[in-house]
């Protein structure tokens, strides 16, 4: 028998590890990164110590309760709509066969591509006095019929619009949980004589609760963060209050205080979610079988189709239809060079931010894997919390801290006085995007790492590969899908981000999002449509990419 030992390639035993080699290099880098991400938020906390002005007293007496009620109502109503739009379709799509199921399974997630302020503009345009519905009713049935069209420029309307574009967060998490769920549970229920509805109510729904709540947590963050839709519909919330104090009144101290109150409220709500989740864990057994679907035929099949089509109509088809109508009307007026410049600038900005987010996410996630310390877990957890912080709050933090850093740069003579190095630059914008969207990247990357058991790292180590080589030649190829997903989601989130960009952008610097919103606010709604349509287009690409990753693994 030929023996391998005849060739001489022996493992040699190496020296003891230095502290850097001993996995601390990764931890150190990650902590540094965490500090950069958390500094703007910490600065807001510190700023609270500065004395409040008269503005804050006025807000406390007259506006605070209104903001609180506004945000509360918007958030609760939106969560109601999202649950309605998401849970039943997710169950139908996962457990039944009916006409159009495959396409709808995909399409149901697509309203994620429509920024809330764009949906808000489109729905307002659809239902207002000069909109297609009222006009049609007036011409055919007279003024009285047209007056029956509900007014949606209020808290009910804005919640419906937010719900129709945010429900995919709940839909996606719920469907993923349904697909991950082992068929055995439902088969057991069926063998015990339970029909579809009883199996759903008594077996499936309880196990879906963590997924639904996780999706609702995202909805909560997004609806708290929203500025464009609520402002357009004239509803006062914390976010509009921050804008008013910061931009209209120049009252930084009040803006920071409002931001702090909002942070506390959001943190409380998310803390409740954690508490509710308690000891529930996703039990990712490797040997799950997909559900075998019940066949719905005849009228019941078509009812299922209808139930799944409605959310897609509300969140995607109707807004896109309105935007297309306007675009067709204003097509000749488009200044192409300007439009192209705007597009290129927005894409470049979003791509840079997405790159930063992915690199940051990999470093944070991998450092925790290489050397697990409580400090590191804490920092990664906190760094991921940026997503829960409304964009307006982050923008205020980055801007104020940037001003301090600029002051330092000037006093040390690094940068000539009068130039802005950090504050109000594109760099600050990317910094703020990274703070806000790090979690968007971190989450899929973390999930990707978790799917790879620690034994792969151990195998790589015993074969002589250190952390860096293991990352490059083992984890990265296996994470490809997660990385692409993280990059795409971050890219689109940055592209459509409105409140943060509005506050932090350099003078005269417009992106597709700000340009679109400004035109719409200035009563030039049709002119805003081409940009809006383009944003939706980018969003659809992102949804497609994200979904392909999800579906190819879990459903075929």
């Amino acid at each position: 028998m030929a023996l391998i030992a005849t060739t001489t390639h022996r493992y040699e035993i190496g020296p003891m590890a230095s502290w850097w080699r001993h996995r601390l290099g990764w931890a150190f880098t990650a902590v540094l990164l965490g500090i950069v991400v958390l500094a703007p938020l910490a600065y807001i906390g510190v700023s609270l110590l500065s004395p409040a002005g008269d503005g804050w007293r006025h807000i406390q007496e007259h506006l605070l309760s209104r903001y609180l009620k506004g945000t509360g109502a918007v958030v609760l109503l939106t969560m109601g709509w999202t649950t309605l739009f998401a849970v039943v379709p997710a169950w139908l799509v996962a457990a039944f066969q009916f006409p159009g199921r495959r396409a709808l399974s995909w399409l149901l997630a697509s309203p994620l591509a429509v920024p809330s302020y764009i949906a808000a503009i489109a729905w307002a345009g659809l239902l207002d006095f000069t909109g297609p519905i009222q006009t049609t009713l007036r011409t055919h049935l007279g003024n009285d019929a047209a007056r029956l069209v509900p007014d949606i420029m209020n808290v009910w309307g804005v919640s419906f619009v937010l719900g129709s574009v945010l429900y995919p967060y709940v839909y996606v998490t719920t469907r993923a949980a349904l697909l991950r769920q082992t068929a055995t549970l439902i088969e057991a229920a069926r063998c015990l004589g339970a029909g579809p509805s009883r199996a759903f109510l008594e077996v499936v729904l309880p196990t879906l609760r963590p997924a639904i709540v996780a999706g609702l947590a995202l909805v909560l963050m997004e609806s708290v963060n929203d500025y464009g839709a609520v402002h357009y519909y004239g509803v006062d919330t914390f976010t509009t209050g921050i804008f008013r104090s910061w931009l209209a009144l120049g009252d930084v101290a009040s803006a920071i205080r409002l931001a702090a109150v909002l942070l506390v409220v959001t943190a409380f709500a998310l803390g409740m979610e954690r508490l509710a989740r308690g000891r529930q864990r996703f039990d990712d057994a490797g040997t799950t079988r997909p559900l075998s679907r019940w066949h719905l035929t005849g009228i019941r099949g078509w009812l299922a189709t209808l139930a799944c089509t409605t959310p897609v109509l509300a969140g995607l088809v109707i807004p896109v239809w309105m935007l297309t109508r306007w675009t067709v009307r204003t097509y000749d007026g488009i200044v192409w060079t300007e439009f192209l410049e705007l597009t290129v600038r927005s894409v470049a900005l979003a791509a840079t931010a997405a790159f930063v987010v992915v690199i940051g996410g990999v470093i944070l996630s991998y450092a925790r894997r290489v050397k697990h310390t409580p400090l590191l877990s804490g920092i990664t957890g906190l760094a991921g919390a940026g997503y829960a912080v409304p964009g307006a709050v982050i923008a205020v933090g980055v801007f104020s801290l940037g001003a301090v850093l600029d002051g330092l740069c000037h006093s040390t003579g690094l940068v000539p006085v009068g130039t802005l190095f950090v504050g109000g630059s594109v760099g600050a914008l990317i910094w703020a995007y990274s703070v806000r969207f790090l979690a968007v990247g971190l989450q899929p990357i973390d999930a990707g790492f978790t799917r790879q058991g620690p034994v792969l790292d151990e195998a790589a180590r015993t074969l002589g590969a250190g952390p860096l080589r293991a990352l490059i030649s083992v984890h990265a190829p296996l994470l490809r899908g997660s990385l692409a997903g993280a990059a795409t989601l971050a890219f689109v989130d940055v592209l459509k981000e409105l409140p943060l960009t509005l506050i932090l952008r350099p003078f005269d610097f417009a992106t597709l999002a700000t340009h679109t919103y400004e035109l719409a606010s200035e009563e030039m709604v049709p002119a805003s449509a081409p940009g809006a349509l383009l944003l939706v287009g980018f969003g659809l690409v992102a949804v497609a990419v994200a979904q392909r990753g999800l579906l190819s693994r879990q459903e075929r």
């Binding site: 391998i4 390639h9 035993i13 080699r21 195998a459 015993t462 074969l463 002589g464």
Partner: protein
């Protein structure tokens, strides 16, 4: 030369669970040592500390007389030159078989690498499967690839963590014999963690028995089987009778009792004999090579006796010790 020297090794996990208590062990070059014990006894932890996948809380590990784990610091796993075969293979799912095997051969010229890979695959009986992806292989094939991957860089020490436990019975023994053959042919030192008596007895030069993180006995298979120091050790390697000192003389059991005072006697060491202690056959089990009779003695104790022919339940028999094989 001493290949593995473990001294006073202790391990407490975060959260306070103690996995190892001052473990001492010395393994000579070329020796194959089985690490046995119930699940949770610390045997995997011991292996992982030797591999450097876990740090120790106390004590030191030296490989070939070079300290790799000590209070002063550790050599990272990737620089220890130990290979490991994992329970569930731990093959890289995105790489083909040949790339998996070549993973540890970094720094070799391409031609040598290829030669080494095909040699390793030939050794484990899988020539020509290099282009397959991992998911295209059966469980037994996967474990063979894992073995080839571990052996390809010619490690001086191989650590095996229950390498056979994911395989069915027939594959187990075939692969066990193959692994043993390869390790012996190359004079590789091995620590082999298993919870199966059969593996430990057939594979190892010596076995270490761990109980709750403590080494309770180290020795050759024959010694562990016939002269276990405690019931725990005895039960690891097969059924055993714990015979109280009160009836031991009447059964003809000689020698010193185990720590708790009982004499540990294997069923094969007892025979049915009219000149023994009387009892009634309460039950019998067929076990392929013969029968196992469960006998309730007149003293009230129950003993197991291995018999060649089928005993009849309900008959009165006499039981006595075959020879002088009892506890130590």
């Amino acid at each position: 030369m001493t290949a593995v020297q473990i001294q006073g090794l202790g391990k407490v996990y975060r959260g306070g669970t103690r996995a190892l208590h001052s473990v001492d062990l010395q393994v000579s070059e070329g020796e194959i040592v089985a690490v046995v014990g119930e699940s949770g006894c610390g045997k995997s932890t011991l292996l992982r500390v030797v591999a450097g996948l876990e740090d120790a809380t106390e004590g030191a590990v030296a490989l070939f007389e070079q300290t790799v784990t000590s209070p002063a610091g550790t050599v990272p796993t990737e620089r220890r030159g130990v290979a490991m075969v994992f329970q569930d293979h731990a093959l890289f799912p995105h790489l083909r078989v040949h790339a998996n095997v070549a993973f540890g051969l970094r720094g070799l010229p391409r031609s040598q690498k290829q030669a080494r890979v095909s040699e390793a695959l030939g050794l484990v009986g899988l020539p020509g499967l290099g282009d397959r992806y991992i998911h295209e292989l059966s469980g037994g094939q996967r474990q063979r690839v894992a073995l080839a991957r571990a052996l390809a860089p010619t490690p001086r020490i191989v650590l095996l963590d229950e390498p056979l436990s994911s395989l069915d019975e027939r594959l187990r023994s075939a692969l066990r014999d193959d692994i043993l053959r390869l390790l012996r042919a190359r004079g590789t030192t091995a620590l082999w963690v298993t919870h199966r008596a059969e593996d430990a007895l057939t594979v190892a030069d010596r076995s270490v028995v761990l109980e709750s993180g403590l080494v309770v006995q180290v020795g050759a298979p024959e010694a562990l089987y016939h002269r276990p120091v405690s019931r725990y050790v005895a039960r690891m390697f097969g059924p055993v009778n714990a015979i109280p000192a009160s009836i031991a003389p009447r059964l003809g059991v000689e020698g010193a009792p185990a720590a708790d005072g009982a004499h540990l006697v294997r069923p094969e060491a007892l025979v049915l004999h009219p000149d023994g202690l009387f009892g009634v056959i309460a039950a019998r089990r067929y076990r392929g090579t013969g029968y196992m009779a469960e006998i309730t003695l007149d003293s009230g104790d129950t003993v197991l006796v291995a018999t060649a022919s089928a005993p009849t339940v309900g008959t009165a028999v006499g039981v006595r010790c075959r020879s002088i094989t009892s506890a130590s």
